[in-house]
């Protein structure tokens, strides 16, 4: 039960607006909430030719050939111990059950740096525009914002701190020490 208290799930039923940094794009992925994934006898119920984002455990329960090329992670999914095969994965969404739950930032870096994952990392859940600049730094490329969020403000917030002492975004490209980067 403690899990439920710790990880609110209401966000899983909310509408979102998908922001990439440049603007809003339409979402081609169908999000499956934890409740929906659990209530189904098997995730195979879904038409696997569609682009579906299952929660990690439902995704893992599928046989590898049936796995869609994306899934979503809860903030307590410990991916450093899982040794996932991400060869065919295009997108991983990471959930922020509360805006102040910062685990997703570490998860994104583990995906980028330990797994070498180069696909889309999408922030879902309680995503606030004032967090975009940090999310972008650790490797997020898409942001599921509240439908009312101002895209103008989101763009401004994303670019609000162009100077970083340790620029992880830039370092990702060259992987060299990049202590004082200017955007």
């Amino acid at each position: 039960m403690a899990k439920i208290i710790e990880f609110p799930t209401e966000w899983q039923n909310q509408e979102t607006k998908l922001f990439t940094g440049d603007g809003v794009i339409s979402d081609t992925w169908h999000f499956v909430s934890e409740a929906d994934a659990v209530n189904l006898d098997t995730p195979n119920y879904y038409d696997l030719t569609r682009q579906i984002l299952f929660p990690l455990d439902a995704w893992l329960s599928l046989s590898p050939v049936n796995r869609p090329s994306g899934f979503w992670l809860r903030s307590n999914d410990d991916i450093s111990k899982l040794e996932l095969d991400l060869t065919h994965t295009q997108i991983i969404a990471i959930a922020f059950p509360r805006a102040v739950d910062g685990r997703g930032y570490s998860i994104a870096r583990i995906l980028r740096e330990e797994y070498g994952f180069t696909g889309i990392i999408r922030a879902i859940g309680e995503v606030r525009i004032d967090q975009l600049t940090n999310m972008n730094q650790v490797g997020f490329t898409e942001f599921a914002l509240h439908p009312d969020a101002s895209i103008e403000s989101a763009k401004q917030a994303l670019n609000s701190l162009p100077n970083r002492y340790l620029d992880y975004q830039d370092a990702k490209k060259g992987n060299q020490f990049n202590y004082r980067h200017t955007a």
Partner: protein, 573 residues
């Protein structure tokens, strides 16, 4: 020559300027109602703003305690223009204002940025200001000057994108000296810069210390991390904490609870697993050129070869007893034989511990310019330290300090109390701190007596958050709330790691039920009298406590204890 203070270049300046612009925008969206209080909260906290009793408390970062006089003057001016003409220096070497209206905070941050200062990450669940030894760079017992490393860690932690929303606040302290004057074992991470047997520099790393409700001292996790690799090692620790620290209960979310619950061995193993994966990443290696660049970005002070006029100094000490006492307690030795470190005490009986007025700050800035090459340090003990004073200037400096009421010759004595702002200002506090420190000052106003008592550390916290470090003192006073009244619990035998207390760093033990505010000074007096009647020659309070235990103190403080307990035992039986 020695390093004085880090100077920003255009890059550093751009970072604080951009941060001010970002905050202005956030504040304006909040004031217009576009950003809810809940969403604004973490943003304002990471810019040093707490909502407090009277107005937001604004905490300014003073990186590892270093200030130049231009900065101190700006802090003084801000106190005058936006606050009520004073400010409070904290145990984490920062400065706090208490009366700045929310609407004016962005303007204040803008002013601070003009003198290379900010309030970034002085609050919130992120890596806070890095603290260090107030004598760093000049202490005779120092193996390595920790400040260039402290600056690299400051830059690494500033705006670190991964660690802005940790389970709870995260504090790092660093020292390069034999004596721990920075309480490193009371921090989430304590770092000691050391040289190994072949002269290479590295860090001994301690993890999991903290005060609060559950005082725990940090455990050694790595004896030697080469300095080039320290960022990767720290990222490994903080990442394990970020992913596995508790987020369901605020009181159990510090790293100390995680380390304690799984044990230092298991924690260390998790850290090593992460470190193995990231340690060789080029991005986390500090190049020698970067250390050189940061070191060279410090201004330097140079020392004069003019010999100390020892005969004159001795004559002055013999002529003026208060001066002699001040030299004995407030003047500390320096690496350079002609120089000394001078502590300006912010513990005058008429002022709250750690407080300084605008006038004092402005005049102290003048004195630091005149006698200490324009720099000063905020100490962990909430005093201001001038680290580059030629000994021939000590008498003049003392006279000037006298006039400013910052010359109390009490450094290390009972009235050199650490105290948080307490219930008068802080909305977290259960009880007042300032009035208690005042009452103790009144009780112990005889300098001869204080001098005779010798080295005693007495710290006061207004609540369990322990900002006044009561756990780490010989005598700790903790404010507790009892039916809406201010009550105080007393602990004895705590230690902070300095040479002035028990060599084993530990929390003090509660001696028994709490007391009303009015009773506290008498209780302290009883404890002191018990010490005096039991002490062996030359024995400090901590040594007496260590030797005889708490029982004699309890018996003196609670004389009716046994009679009261007996009927209860009968009833229970």
């Amino acid at each position: 020559m020695t390093a004085a203070i880090y100077q920003y270049d255009a890059f550093d300046q751009a970072i604080v300027d951009q941060r001010v612009t970002q905050f202005k925008n956030q504040l304006s969206r909040h004031l217009k109602g576009e950003l809810s209080e809940e969403d604004f909260r973490p943003l304002r906290l990471q810019n040093g703003l707490y909502i407090q009793r009277h107005a937001p408390m604004l905490r300014i970062a003073i990186p590892y305690g270093l200030l130049n006089t231009k900065q101190l003057r700006t802090l003084a001016d801000i106190a005058q223009q936006y606050d009520r003409g004073y400010a409070h220096f904290t145990t984490r070497q920062n400065l706090q204002y208490n009366w700045i209206p929310l609407e004016q905070t962005a303007e204040v941050l803008e002013k601070l940025a003009t003198v290379q200062m900010h309030a970034i990450q002085t609050s919130g669940n992120c890596i806070r200001n890095i603290t260090s030894d107030a004598l760093a760079g000049i202490a005779p017992d120092e193996a390595v000057d920790p400040r260039p490393f402290a600056e690299i860690l400051r830059q690494w932690s500033t705006l670190h994108p991964e660690f802005a929303y940790l389970p709870r606040k995260f504090k790092i302290a660093i020292t390069g000296a034999t004596e721990d004057r920075a309480s490193i074992l009371w921090h989430d991470i304590g770092l000691r810069v050391v040289k190994n047997e072949i002269g290479e520099i590295g860090f001994t790393v301690f993890v999991g210390g903290g005060m609060g409700r559950t005082p725990i001292t940090a455990k050694k996790i790595n004896a030697f991390v080469p300095w080039q690799q320290i960022l990767g090692y720290l990222e490994s620790i903080v990442r394990v904490y970020n992913l596995h620290g508790r987020r369901d209960n605020m009181y159990k979310s510090r790293i100390k609870i995680l380390v304690k619950s799984i044990g230092i061995e298991a924690f260390s193993e998790q850290v090593n697993q992460t470190w193995k994966k990231i340690k060789d990443q080029p991005r986390l290696q500090i190049p020698a050129a970067e250390l050189e660049r940061v070191s060279a970005s410090f201004t330097t002070v140079s020392y004069s070869d003019m010999a100390v006029d020892t005969a004159e100094l001795n004559r002055l000490k013999q002529t003026y007893l208060p001066f002699a006492r001040w030299v004995k307690l407030n003047v500390l030795p320096h690496k350079h034989e002609n120089y000394a470190s001078v502590t300006f005490s912010l513990k005058h009986p008429t002022q709250a511990p750690g407080d300084a007025t605008t006038e004092q700050m402005l005049k102290i800035a003048d004195l630091a310019d005149q006698y200490s090459q324009g720099t000063l340090v905020v100490s962990h003990k909430q005093n201001l330290v001038l680290n580059h004073v030629h000994q021939n200037n000590l008498y003049e400096l003392w006279k000037a300090a006298e006039a400013l009421q910052v010359s109390s010759p009490t450094v290390g004595l009972l009235t050199d109390m650490i105290a948080c702002p307490g219930g008068d200002f802080c909305s977290l506090a259960n009880a007042k701190s300032i009035s208690v420190s005042e009452a103790i000052h009144q009780k112990f106003d005889d300098l001869d007596y204080l001098y005779e008592l010798g080295n005693i550390r007495l710290n006061i916290s207004g609540c369990m958050n322990s900002c006044g470090h009561h756990h780490a003192a010989d005598i700790g006073i903790l404010g507790v709330d009892k039916d809406g009244q201010d009550w105080y619990q007393i602990t004895l035998g705590g230690s902070d790691g300095s040479n002035k207390g028990h060599p084993t760093v530990k929390a003090g033990k509660v001696i028994g039920p709490s007391f009303s505010e009015a009773a506290v000074p008498d209780v302290i007096e009883t404890i002191i009298n018990t010490y005096i009647s039991n002490r062996a020659p030359e024995e400090a309070l901590w040594q007496t406590i260590d030797r005889i235990g708490l029982e004699p103190f309890k018996a003196a403080v609670y004389p009716d204890r046994i009679e009261k307990r007996q009927p209860q035992e009968v009833n229970n039986g």
